[in-house]
Amino acid sequence: MSTYQVALIGNPNCGKTALFNALTGSRHKVANYPGVTVEKRQGMLAINDTNIHLLDLPGIYSLRGISPDELVARQALLGELANEPIPNLIIFVADATNLALNLRLAIEVKALGYPMVIALNMMDVAKEQGVEIDIQQLSQLLNVPIIATVAVKKQGLNELRQQIATHIEAHPHKPSLNAWQEPSAEDLRQTYAIVDLMLNKTVTEKPWRHHLTEKLDRILLHPIWGMLCLLAILFCMFQAVFSWAVVIQNLMQTGIDATIQWLHHTLPDGPLTNLICDGVLAGVGSVVVFLPQILILFLFILVLEDSGYMARAAFLMDRLMSKIGLNGKAFIPMLSAYACAIPGIMAARTIENLKDRMVTIMITPLTTCSARLPVYTLLIAAFIPSKDVLGFINLQGLVMFLLYLAGISAALTMGFIFKKFLFKGRAPLMLMEMPIYRLPSLHNILVGLGERAKIFLMRAGTIILSVMILLWFLSSYPTPPASWHGAAVAYSFAGRIGQFLEPFFAPIGFNWQMVVALIPGLAAREAAIAGLGTVYAVSGNEDTIAQSLIQTLHHEWGLATGLAILAWYVFAPQCISTLAVTKRETNSWLWPTVMFVYMFSLAYLAAFIVFHITNYFL
């Protein structure tokens, strides 16, 4: 058995990843906007005893490699990476509804000297549009085999596999490449002219309009309604996150509490029981109950992404973003960061200008990632009364929305400052395709939710679990001598660390229990909640254990402290993985350091202001 490398390449949003998934059975993210795939991905498929490495590459408009994601594709095709072999064969994925553009690129890629197969994708949409293509003749004119495919319905895959098999026999060795020469503007025009000639002979198009897209755009891009819709969509998202999940969440919480009680009664008293109950269940459990909320948030984001709305949001936000010197495209990483800052920072690769990318990376962690959700929810439940404002808006949901708004405003303000002082530069271009609206695919959404649930539970089971066990030890040992008055936890290592740091945090109203909980919050933000769960469970007597964490916090902290920690978490220094990704993407230790310092200062300042203002008015 030998291995053979095949690369998928094409314009953005033509369905490469959908095809990759269909061929290899993987579940990589597919969504309806240009620039979803920003890195190279490998998968395996076997055809007639040959193992094939299939490579999925980011979409490109040319081989010039202007933005970092395009550069990845260029390097893979031109063999510019020292230890990476070039592919044996290229599958050029072309969007059948946008042939002029796609075939122009196909000709540029083919000139490199690769054997090539064209997968003419989106054939279902083309049919619907009344585009008729004489595939056989087109294939002769281009001198490339063409296979019609519908990646999302797995049509045309067998023919494609067949073609790959034929190619393996015909070209068993790596091709020898021609040097790539950047086409001049005149070259580009000439290629278009050649493509036009081919298309005139082989394609008949009816005048066509996508009525759904036009109707929706008339509302969603309307100068007034469009903006209102964007706000309304975001607002609904946060209301839903807050109110829909509560029922399931309460059930889960009741279940966990009952389990803890039951274990306390059945297991023999001792450190192990305490570890399981107070450390593992109270800590990890307090995080796991947020799964429903996170899934609802993701449901919204996935629907926005797969319907085609994301690109519209970028368009609507372009003006605002250009005020801070960025372009609307930077809004997509920021929206993705609502899920998690890490894919958000990676998505910044689609931004071509280095300085703009740096600014986007630096401010992305200020958008409210889903790991902050548990923290917000818990604190809101403890300190904000659940009543209706104006009769229909839930006050808790409203506060949640305001916290998100504070995050995005802070991101925009910081973006402005960074752009003005650190990364000055000319205004970037905004050129972006607006895909047609599509009914989000149930499959894509379920796969996306499944992946997210898996990641979330894995985190709870690994990082958070180990941090909790460690924290439990630190807050349970050493045990105080008999003469010790007061809570045992105050005598422990954790208690001492907390008390040592307390003076620094006292001006912003934090007590030492909170300080202890903030430290695991660095490993993963939601671990701060677990930390509070553990610290208060350890320090509690039988009565307080029976109380929920919400009630405990409500009794232990004043309103000012509660609001101060909410403000803190709007800016809170991000988790370590975010800093690590920043290091990787910027290739320097400087920027993660700057990021940590500036966010820490903002958080401290915000908590300070909120704490003192609240105290002043109460």
């Binding site: 553009l101 372009d318 050129l431 972006m432 395709e433 607006m434």
Partner: protein
């Protein structure tokens, strides 16, 4: 000489086609390689275009229809695309 009509000036929903791509008036024509970028996105002489939407508030950027696709583009770049209305 009359200044040529450009993509940012035509009325909405009127059919037009591209007559020239000319980035000489663009402030960053050289640095950003505007002409090539536009060509690579499919803006080429002869292609049918139509102005569809203007963004809220400032009426910038625009969404234009290019053949059967929609593309968001700022006015500054749309100025480099000369067009002629179809009668």
């Amino acid at each position: 000489m009359q200044t040529p009509l450009t993509l940012d000036q035509i009325p909405k929903n009127k059919k037009a086609f591209i007559t020239a791509i000319d980035d000489r008036s663009h402030p960053h024509a050289e640095l950003s390689n505007i002409e090539k970028r536009l060509l690579e996105m499919g803006f080429v002489e002869g292609a049918p275009v139509m102005l569809l939407h203007e963004a809220p508030f400032s009426k910038d950027p625009l969404i234009v229809r290019l053949r059967n696709n929609r593309i968001a583009i700022r006015r500054s770049e749309a100025k480099c695309i000369q067009v002629q209305l179809q009668l």
